[in-house]
């Protein structure tokens, strides 16, 4: 039934579609390599050896079990933050508020822990994980609701709420919960029963010489579980189906009887919950207390991680590991070479830019394809309320 020209088109299109998968993986890899190249050029430009720079970087990340443990430790919060962004992306939402959500999640976790001094481990740990998720989720629910109800763009509101979260937790820590007799703006430590075990002993028992002092802890396992969970929610639950439908095509979702507003809020809550889980590493696993201003941009790094991971949970895992390598290596570079760590930030930023640009080029050559970034158009809601009859 096809005329010759139609089948020509079909072959061409099919050909490209076939290579799609490879391109999807290859494009970010090429971007990363190109960014490394840029970094190397900068190093050379300041008269240092790029070779030494990168060998130090990778030594810092891979020299021994301890380094690798640090990589995983540094990757852990980025996995959560990346999942938060990627998950919201899937609903067509751009959650820039990971930073605020992880602060609130961490504070909620700490606060609950401090309220339950005598609780047994089996109870406290799940409760604290829940508290982290709920804290982050509720904080994210606010911009989600404002988007769904009033159509206010979530980007601005999540940014505003980052500042508010930092101020609020700072106030709570300093004015109310500060550890007595200490000047560091931090709370008292949480009960030992609420601490996540470090993985050193576990790995040692497997014969991996991970030093006891290595901060890698069970939060990493929670992060792996979260990767699976994010995938499972998106692809194996009705809610995930609805989230993806809303993200891809809000008006089709509405047509299909999906409550678009509710789905948007729920997606935002889940996204915030992932961000809140950063507390499992920072509070339960590492510091065992809430330290004012501890994050220094984990939430923002999550955006980069999600982007690099093409908003798929597994991609987030790999991207977070890459950033973990870079951050861990950065410290080594900082301590042992004359190149400052800030160069790593530059490499990370260049990676993101190259990834988005590369993606657009690939998409254009392919004609069309899955959008890398949310179609804000699709998820925007008229104030007229055509999205819902109430």
């Amino acid at each position: 039934m096809n005329s010759p020209r139609a089948s020509d088109t079909a072959t061409r299109v099919r050909g490209l579609a076939g290579t799609g998968k490879i391109v999807d993986v290859l494009a970010p890899l090429v971007a990363v390599l190109a960014a490394f190249l840029v970094g190397g050029l900068v190093v050379a430009a300041i008269g240092e050896s790029p070779l030494k720079f990168y060998s130090t970087l990778f030594r810092g990340a891979f020299a021994n079990a301890d380094s690798v443990g640090l990589v995983l430790f540094n990757a852990t919060p980025l996995i959560f933050a990346g999942l938060a962004v990627a998950f919201a992306f899937r609903a067509g939402l751009f959650n820039i508020g990971g930073e605020g959500q992880l602060y609130i999640g961490s504070f909620a976790c700490t606060w609950v822990a401090l309220q339950l001094p005598g609780a047994p481990r089996v109870l406290l740990i799940p409760v604290l994980i829940l508290a982290s998720a709920v804290g982050g989720g509720l904080w994210a629910a606010i911009p989600g609701y404002l988007k769904a109800r009033f159509g206010v763009h979530e980007v601005i509101n999540t940014i505003m709420m980052n500042f508010i979260a930092v101020g609020l937790t700072s106030y709570l820590v300093i004015a109310i919960f500060k550890e007595a007799g200490q000047m560091t703006p931090q709370t008292a430590t949480i009960p030992i029963a609420g601490e996540l075990p470090r993985l050193a002993y576990f790995f040692q028992s497997l014969g991996v010489p991970l030093p006891a002092a290595n901060p890698l802890n069970a939060s990493f396992l929670i992060a792996l579980a979260a990767v699976w969970l994010a995938w499972f929610i998106l692809h194996r639950t009705t809610l995930g189906y609805e989230i993806r439908a809303v993200g891809h095509n809000a008006s089709a979702a509405e047509y299909a009887g999906i409550n678009v507003r509710r789905t948007l809020v729920l997606a935002m809550v889940l996204s915030g919950a992932f961000a809140g889980l950063v507390a499992t590493n920072e509070v339960m696993g590492f510091r065992h207390r809430f330290l004012d201003n501890f994050s220094s941009g984990i939430g923002f790094m999550g955006i980069a991680v999600a982007l690099l991971g093409r908003n798929s949970p597994l991609g987030v895992l790999f991207a977070a590991l890459l950033f973990g390598v870079l951050n861990t290596g950065a410290l080594e570079v900082d301590v042992f070479t004359d190149v400052p760590r800030e160069l790593i930030l530059v490499v990370q930023a260049v990676t993101i830019i190259l990834v988005v640009v590369g993606n657009e080029i690939v998409q254009r050559r392919r004609g069309r394809g899955a959008a890398l970034t949310p179609r804000s158009e699709a998820a925007s809601i008229d104030r007229d309320g055509s999205a819902e009859v109430s």
Partner: protein, 300 residues
Amino acid sequence: MFELVVLDSALRMATPLILASLGGLFSERSGVVNIALEGILLTGAFASILATYYTGDPWVGVAAGIFAGILVSLIHAAVTVIFKADQIVSGVAINLLAAGATQFLTWITWGSSSNSPPVGGMARWSLPEAWGPVARSINVVIGHYPPLVYVALVAVAVAHVVLWHTPFGLRLRATGEHPAAVDALGVSVRKMRFAGVLLSGALAGLGGAFLALNTHQFVKNMSAGRGYIALAAMIFGKWNPVGAALACLLFGYAEAVQMGLQGQHVPSQFVQMIPYVLTMVALVGVIGRARPPAALGKPY
């Protein structure tokens, strides 16, 4: 609360915000979201100190700040207008880049990745005292604030006139509303958007220059979220220069009051939150009537 010193302080605090939000305005009126304002402020701040450090002339520093702002916004323009990549992602990446690059360069130049040495600031404007009492009373007015404060106020008026009374402004706004229509009339959407984004870089770069020159020093991350606040002010001001400037003044005032209130047992964190909470409340209340440029954020 209405002491002159507080109002003075508010105006100075508002100045970088005003410049950056005017910048945001030109970009967004052309249809390009510019979250990169934060990074542009920072880069402008760095460049202005760098140039002042080497030339000793803060006005060269101002020029450098503007130039650096344009350079950074060029990246944003290229990524979003030519490659049509997502504008928010580009902005986020540029902010990261600016944070890393300015620290890196600070380290290269001055051996500290957190701050530059102090440089000479900008002299207040004044007429020679010898010109007599009239000159002296004029000096009271024009010498009251750092020069760039006046520049910012004039920029508001100029931006208003440009946007609403010149062909360029008409085309720019049209591009943000309906790029296809502009294209159909033979006006290059690409050129208009480049112009909008680059102007935004120039203005935010100038804002960064004020920030740094007024403190005589570059300090890492000294933009401290002002780019985002400027963006919020722009929305708060309904994408109008005068409205945005008023919103900036309000935010500057909130900050000044917060400092003025110190020692009076109002937790500073709460006062510092005022602009953010205000923005969120305003968005819910205002956005219905204020309409963002219809094609904002959409690549063309």
